[in-house]
Assembly symmetry: C2
Homo-oligomer: 458 residues x 2
Amino acid sequence: MSVPAEALTALGEILGDRLSRSKSDLDLHGQSETWFPAAPPDAVAYPRTTDEVAAIVRLCAAHGCPMVGWGVGTSLEGHALAVRGGICVDFSRMNRVLAVHPEDMDVVVQPGVTREDLNADLRATGLFFPVDPGANATLGGMASTRASGTTAVRYGTMRDNVLGLQVVLADGRVIRTGTRARKSAAGYDLTGLFVGAEGTLGLITELTLKLYGQPEAISAAVCAFDAIGPAVDTVIQTIQMGIPMARIEFVDAATAAAVNAYAGARFPEKPHLLVEFHGSPSGVAEQAEAFGEIVADNSGAGFEWSSRPEERTALWTMRHNAYYACLAARPGATALVTDLCVPISRLAEAVEETRADIAASYIPGPILGHVGDGNFHAILLVDPRNPVELAEAKRLSHRMVERALRLGGTVTGEHGIGMGKLGYMEAEHGEAWDVMGQIKRALDPQGLMNPGKLVRGD
Amino acid sequence: MSVPAEALTALGEILGDRLSRSKSDLDLHGQSETWFPAAPPDAVAYPRTTDEVAAIVRLCAAHGCPMVGWGVGTSLEGHALAVRGGICVDFSRMNRVLAVHPEDMDVVVQPGVTREDLNADLRATGLFFPVDPGANATLGGMASTRASGTTAVRYGTMRDNVLGLQVVLADGRVIRTGTRARKSAAGYDLTGLFVGAEGTLGLITELTLKLYGQPEAISAAVCAFDAIGPAVDTVIQTIQMGIPMARIEFVDAATAAAVNAYAGARFPEKPHLLVEFHGSPSGVAEQAEAFGEIVADNSGAGFEWSSRPEERTALWTMRHNAYYACLAARPGATALVTDLCVPISRLAEAVEETRADIAASYIPGPILGHVGDGNFHAILLVDPRNPVELAEAKRLSHRMVERALRLGGTVTGEHGIGMGKLGYMEAEHGEAWDVMGQIKRALDPQGLMNPGKLVRGD
Ligand SMILES: Cc1cc2nc3c(=O)[nH]c(=O)nc-3n(C[C@H](O)[C@H](O)[C@H](O)COP(=O)(O)OP(=O)(O)OC[C@H]3O[C@@H](n4cnc5c(N)ncnc54)[C@H](O)[C@@H]3O)c2cc1C
Ligand SMILES: Cc1cc2nc3c(=O)[nH]c(=O)nc-3n(C[C@H](O)[C@H](O)[C@H](O)COP(=O)(O)OP(=O)(O)OC[C@H]3O[C@@H](n4cnc5c(N)ncnc54)[C@H](O)[C@@H]3O)c2cc1C
């Protein structure tokens, strides 16, 4: 128990019944989506304002008590687990869209707004926020993990789409980073520093985000390939040709089978590409035609594009549920989700070697991913009660990580470090990891913000 | 003199005649492009390798001697002036393109490569590096100032186009940030931290940059307006409609006149927009048509687009020389160059108020800029021997800065802080400026990297 009683009393005075110590609340905030053992906080705080967050942080700082932010807990590397106890700061009550500026195509939101709620809110404006990690994550969580997803190939990741932040620092100071101008050369890029910091440098209490006009025309398509090779080659050639794909997603035969079983889809049990085009009607037609030629050259089948919204929605819902479909393919299983990202020219090697590795193991591991960015995942399905299986999944994951580095890539394209990738920071960054530690110590000398994540432990 | 003799001796042993103390060299590296008083270094070092840079830095660190990086010295806020003396590290001998990866559309360069040399080198690959500050700056300098320019509206700034860096830190450690993967969620964004740091956190010795395919079709156009209002409204409407302009530049009547006089052009002496479209032939036609309609709605004249490369080259050469044309318009003058950037919806106000302010002053101040980003400059022309004029220019500049902040923008869209904007950091960032200071002290506790710039002085 890392929170002294007097701190809890003081927090209770600030938050009333928005400070919870109920078992169900602690359990809920002590779990992750994947294989990590539970690690509940000592209490869960539900602030409603930045001032309340600052008050919580000041109290925790005074009592030396860890603080862990919480969006909706969909991060995949145990990011939000309270491994040293402390206060979980759940942002679900800070879920208001504060200002929409259609004339500047930006929006100001509280961190607990989810991406689906944001886009529902924006519908009438003709604008949308593109970053789409599949899960209905919060904007605060997405910024903190530097999330991306299906549309990053066209619209970028959270790195590219956050204009500014309000952040409560480890000592309770409240700062603003960035402005509503589209670019700035005014000093260090603090916005970029807090995006991807996984809550280890401060708590984000407000975000200003870029928006985009709904494309005049959208169309989507699916095509099947006889083998992984030609599917991946199609991706590489498409990216190298500069076709401005809005989405280009890969699922392997195992994923297709899992989705069929889970969602009653009827994909041939083969590798597929799922794609989307955004633009003017003629632009979309041009892109689809150019892409179709590459598909044909690679003997892809069934390439047909459709502009019908229902069909598109069905397609992307299926894609977004692919993770749960894979989990359901092995009842009772939990997942170790890998996240390698390589330069596009090395994608075929990376996928092929991974596939061969998994085929030679007894662990099921469907492969899917945002291949337009050179990014893909194997969802390694293990029995949570069987340490031998977990060890085997970690061995496969370790080989993927080494592969990513050998091919000039990164150990995590989008999921982040959390606890799961901590052991690879040194391999990827060398002494630059120490530099991250220096920044961490400068801004959080007590080491209270999400301890045990991202930076080297004591 | 802030460099002890023994340090100079030791540096001379490492660099031989690539350590210079000649008066001409010190003078050259003690000047800036604008109004700042000269501030020469004690010596100029011309390293050829990262190891040499690291050796220089270790020696300077051991002797408490300031270090200032130097690209080609085109920065506009006195960035590279050696205000505390020390060693100027001139990167002109580190000017090799180290590796081109056309299949991944990236390139690895030394910091002294200029953008024109890089693009000349790339020509055969069909790829290009888009960031274009007009001046033939170095990539190391451009990264350090977070430069942008005419094409940022389409391709982004240096923030968006640097994938990774090699950096020599203040204590001589050499780190790498980033990988060749297109995205990563692996820890703090150190690449983003060093981009825009103006050499205050370390010296950049290598950069990995994104490249783009030469567009299939390019066409450019010029159009004149009777007043600034409709020209700026055209820009706002174009951006809000989402037309993917490759460039959209504004020059006012005074700039047009200066360019006519300097380069023998024949622009009507009116406000103009200079634009460029990139895409497929039909895409370019579609964009030009949509833009043409907006121009017509705003009573713009002479909108004609041309795909002839000679015409385009002539147009952008003229635009790039506009700064020198303005300087020549007042013989003997030096410039105070302002650099405000606001949300696009506030651009008309920002330009109009600035124009009115300048009109009411006796200082000539042609206005031009990268208006698609909400960014523009007034080039305030002053007699360098007349302190009253300089004070008046500073008053006008001060009002522009306040305007930028009032309108939700930034005091510098692209030129950076250097010394010239130091006095506005607090106004723009509040306590976030202190956070920058904390980072600076963590990474450069002796304060030797480009002292007197960007962060709060002691
Ligand atoms: C089915 C599924 C599919 C997914 N697909 C993708 C994908 O395609 N791309 C992708 O990038 N990710 C994906 N993810 C992972 C996950 O959705 C992202 O990591 C997401 O950004 C997490 O958001 P969250 O709101 O759930 O954050 P949480 O998991 O609650 O928190 C994530 C981290 O951010 C911190 N944090 C949360 N809020 C704040 C705040 N306001 N201030 C400071 N720190 C805070 C937490 O402490 C934690 O370290 C997927 C997950 C699932 C379950
Ligand atoms: C005519 C004209 C037009 C311009 N137009 C634009 C424009 O449109 N957009 C724009 O953004 N800028 C513009 N500028 C400003 C200037 O070109 C940019 O600031 C450019 O990035 C400076 O590059 P440089 O190589 O000249 O760097 P320098 O001026 O030599 O140095 C700039 C800063 O970077 C540091 N530095 C240089 N190299 C390194 C290194 N390797 N490692 C660490 N620190 C280093 C220096 O210490 C200094 O602080 C213009 C300038 C002129 C003269």
